[in-house]
């Protein structure tokens, strides 16, 4: 912060050049230029106007920013846009691209798996990732493998039910 001992020097460091980045976001190629320090999350929100992906902590501590990169769920706050050049990114906006909800989106509505809705895009992207992984089967496993997505409204039991529905498991 403003601790002189920690940050000596009186001239700011120059900013580097912007870097051109291409991402295939929800199936559409998007090319843009950003400074290297722009996270994938901020690139989506501030540069591509895809604000469905949420910032809840910016430090990988809450899961609200979860998106799928090349099919895997990650925290978009802890990766740089430039590092993902060429990657396929799926955000919450891409799950119902043709107007039909993804089964997990519908299951979230059916099971009332959210209240305020702020963690929901991350929960759903995380759940889609979880289902694709094919590892978590039991309720205990779903709980554990969804624990990287905090829901402060406390919808956890309904989130587990929604994922079970979407998995085709008996609730």
């Amino acid at each position: 912060m403003q601790d002189g001992a920690v940050h000596p020097g009186a001239s700011p460091s120059p900013l580097p050049e912007k870097v051109s980045v291409t991402l295939i976001v929800n199936g559409i190629e998007r090319r843009f230029s950003v400074l290297p320090w722009v996270s994938l999350l901020d690139a989506l929100r501030d540069h591509l106007d895809l604000t469905g992906t949420k910032k809840g902590c910016d430090h990988g501590q809450c899961g609200a920013c979860t998106v799928l990169v090349d099919g895997r769920r990650i925290n978009s706050c802890l990766t740089l846009a430039v590092m993902r050049d060429g990657a396929h990114v799926t955000t919450i906006e891409g799950l119902a691209a043709n107007g039909a909800l993804d089964p997990l989106q519908q299951a979230f509505i059916d099971h009332d798996a959210f209240q305020c809705g702020y963690c929901t895009p991350g929960q759903i992207c995380s759940g889609v990732g979880l289902i694709a992984e094919g590892r978590a089967k039991t309720a205990d496993e779903i709980r554990e493998f969804m624990s990287g997505n905090i829901c402060r409204c406390g919808a956890y039991p309904n989130i587990v039910s929604a994922i079970q529905q979407a998995m085709g498991a008996k609730p």
Binding site: M1, L35, T51, P121, Y156
Partner: protein, 746 residues
């Protein structure tokens, strides 16, 4: 009132999916920080790193030289703001004190206080430049530990009239229990970061998208602070990513964002970091002292509840904490007193069930200890002390089915299989404990206005300035509107949380559902009257001699209540009247009834499994039985109570804002180290709504649900941990070191 007739489908009382569900699962729902605009400037806050003192020197020179930095605002160069406390006092501000004014002067009143705002073309540029703002302080002594100010705390609440002599009765009681309990500082940590996007438009009003529980509160506050006319600032907040009380008062980021927009004459977004949100309000650390005196039969002779809460040096915030103890149980002698300690911290604020979540935790822990002393079942003890009347005001309730909560909750939980002694139940290496507690909250209702615009094609827009912070206001208003206008719910559009809409107070205190729904009913009544007036003018109208009480809206028609096939469709009426739309606005009206107390109640039953050697506590089962009048949407209501139980489990086991009192600084100021429950912490939660008819409170017989679900949960968990282990932990959270009896005071 207009409830649906027998033939129409009633949405009220039927489990109904959220009407904003699709927006929320597709990412279309826009929160305060989601509104983009061309030329948006980004703000970053510089925070104080001392607990108390003054800024001797602040140097933004280096920060200003970073390419892309637009401005750095400090107390030295800020735009003019109002200089009276009155202007800074929002609807929720404590009556006493002087509200915090960001960047006002050189005084540092708490650690993490905002002391500069950097504005830049991009967020990371602003954040980097913020790290370059140099500050020299003159430090002053500070205190952040409530225990160090316990004896200097100031009395803020005690009863007008004493009930008996609690001290004398306690001294003479056959069985006594007396102990201190402690709830640490807790932060709300809604998932959404506090954010404001202020949209500047030359010559137009400033449109402020803000994370708030009350847009009109913020709008009036901003007009006061920036000396603007009401039409110069508009506040909008269509979706709020949780708040739990943190969004009741305008937070400093809205002041800074507006200040930045006015100074730059440009749109500004300011999103606080998670860490910075620990510089906002919080549930106050509170020391609770309970003294209960009882007869051997379990009736109470004396209740004494004294609490010491926490507030800042500049405002005196407190909520009813101790009064619940004197209210809930029958006792001829009762005394309560709430004091607050002024510390070098921000002003505390409301957090879900403020006062009750803490005070009832202490009361219900103490009741459990009394039950142990009496060798009496904890439910039985509560039945022995059961009161049919509000013990403070000596009033009957509009309804109180707490007895049924105990009965139905215990039955669902299987309480009768509980072995009374601690450490008597096991599952493998885990000790099993069953605990319970009561909960109580208020059933308040407040004036809310609603506008309904109905069009000839049978659609209605329902507008109100109230917020939906995730509680389901959109949905419940749509249900009531659909029923009272006789339309399918798909034909109802709800507009909320825009300061230009009909007036509503902040969403909080569990008052919004009942208040907003009755405003919808009142306004729908006006629409119906207008339709009837027009229908009577129609040639050969089947309703020619109908009076208002006789008609209802159903299936898109205005019909006779007694003879539902006699009626006229809304579209016909409006076509004949050559009207495109009918627009009405009305404020709800509740009968003034000072002869009754209005409360919600609950009984919470909890199972924990505690590893005997390792002290690890898991909450494996919860049954929460709630008496809250008529439940309009069982689906969302269940979620609301379930979520509050999760919050209560967090309060019991996880949540604690940890101060380094030597530095006067919060050290776990993020959401990795400030623990809230994650999915793996939560297992079965069963919610029961006991049937609680209430013909007195309001026409729908409904009460709010926002707070009641959390009240009592922490005590029930603590009581279960005691039952499992024989260890009584009286300071939250119940971490494994305390269960193992090896905790050192920090």
């Amino acid at each position: 009132m207009s409830t649906p007739n027998n033939t129409a489908k009633a949405y009220t009382g039927t489990p109904t999916s959220r009407v904003d569900g699709r927006a929320k699962v597709t990412g279309a729902a826009k929160y305060a920080g989601d509104f983009n605009a061309g030329g948006l400037a980004y703000g970053a806050v510089v925070e104080a790193t001392i607990a108390r003192g003054r800024i001797a020197r602040i140097d933004a020179g280096e920060a200003l030289r970073v390419p892309g930095v637009l401005d750095v605002i400090t107390h030295e160069n800020r735009p003019r703001v109002a200089d009276s406390d009155e202007a800074w006092r929002d609807d929720l501000a404590p009556e006493d004190g002087s509200p915090f004014r960001p960047l006002y002067d050189d005084a540092v009143k708490f650690n993490q206080q905002p002391i500069a705002l950097v504005l830049a073309e991009e967020w990371e540029i602003a954040r980097y430049a913020a790290s370059l703002v140099r500050v020299d302080y003159e430090k002053q002594p500070f205190v952040t530990d409530v225990y160090r100010r316990r004896d200097d705390a100031i009395v803020v609440e005690k009863p007008d009239k004493l009930r008996g002599d609690a001290a004398k009765a306690f001294a003479a009681a056959e069985v006594r229990h007396e102990a201190d309990y402690f709830i640490p500082t807790e932060h709300h940590n809604p998932m959404e970061l506090f954010a404001t996007t202020a949209m500047w438009e030359a010559g137009g009003p400033l449109t402020v998208y803000d994370k708030t529980q009350g847009v009109q509160n913020v709008q009036q506050f901003l007009c006061g602070v920036f000396e603007k006319k009401p039409n110069e600032i508009r506040v909008i907040s269509p979706y709020v990513g949780g708040a739990f009380g943190a969004g009741l008062r305008p937070q400093y980021q809205v002041v800074l964002a507006v200040m930045g927009a006015l100074k730059l004459q440009r749109s500004v977004r300011l999103v606080l970091t998670r860490q910075q949100m620990y510089g906002l309000g919080y549930r106050p650390a509170t020391i609770e002292r309970l003294a209960l005196g009882a007869r051997r039969d379990g009736t109470l002779d004396a209740i004494t509840h004294e609490a010491v809460g926490t507030t800042s040096q500049f405002e005196e915030f407190s909520r009813n904490d101790t009064g619940w103890s004197a209210l809930l149980y029958a006792s001829p002698n009762a005394r309560y007193e709430h004091r607050v300690a002024h510390l070098d911290v921000p002003t505390s604020c409301d957090m879900r069930a403020p006062g009750a979540a803490t005070g009832v935790y202490a009361l219900e822990s103490a009741m459990d200890e009394l039950a142990v002393a009496l060798k009496m079942d904890p439910v039985e003890l509560r039945l022995r002390c059961y009161s049919e009347r509000d013990q403070n005001e000596d009033l009957p309730y509009t309804s109180k089915r707490l007895r049924e909560c105990y009965r139905e909750g215990a039955a669902a939980f299987g309480w009768d299989r509980r072995k009374p002694e601690p450490r008597a139940m096991r599952d493998g290496k885990a000790l099993v404990g069953w605990g319970m507690a009561s909960g109580v909250w208020e059933a308040l209702q407040v004036p809310v206005a609603v506008r309904i615009a109905m069009t000839a094609n049978g659609h209605a827009e329902v507008s109100c300035a109230a917020s939906d912070i995730g509680t389901g206001t959109y949905t419940i208003m749509a249900q009531v509107a659909a029923d009272s206008l006789g339309l399918p719910i798909e034909n109802i559009t709800i507009h909320l949380a825009d300061s230009t809409l009909p007036s509503a107070p902040v969403e909080g205190g569990s008052w919004m559902a009942a208040s907003a729904c009755h405003a919808v009913i009142a306004t729908a009544g006006e629409v119906r009257s207008e339709l009837l007036r027009r229908a009577k003018l129609m040639k050969g109208s089947p309703l020619a001699d109908a009076v208002e009480e006789d008609v209802t809206l159903s299936d898109g028609k205005l019909v006779s209540r007694r003879q539902t096939d006699r009626g006229v469709s809304i579209s016909d009426i409006m076509r004949h009247a050559a009207m495109e739309r009918i627009e009405k606005e009305k404020t709800n009206e509740f009968a003034q009834d000072k002869a009754h107390a209005r409360n919600t109640h609950s009984a919470v039953f909890v199972e924990v499994k505690v590893d005997e050697e390792l002290g690890v506590v898991r909450v494996t089962r919860v049954v929460s039985a709630v008496a809250a009048g008529r439940v309009l949407n069982p689906k969302t209501a269940r979620s609301q109570v379930m979520g509050a139980v999760v919050g209560g489990i967090g309060m019991a086991l996880h949540e604690e804002t940890i101060y380094d009192h030597g530095l006067g600084r919060i050290i776990n100021h993020d959401i990795a180290e400030y623990h809230v429950p994650v999915n793996a912490d939560i297992h079965d939660i069963e919610v029961i709504f006991v049937d609680e008819p209430d013909a007195l409170i309001n026409p729908l017989g409904m009460k709010g649900l926002g707070e009641i679900g959390i009240v009592g949960v922490a005590a029930a968990v603590a009581n279960a941990v005691y039952h499992a282990t024989g260890v009584r932990v009286r300071d939250l959270p119940i971490t494994l070191d305390k269960v193992l009896g090896r905790r050192q005071a920090a």
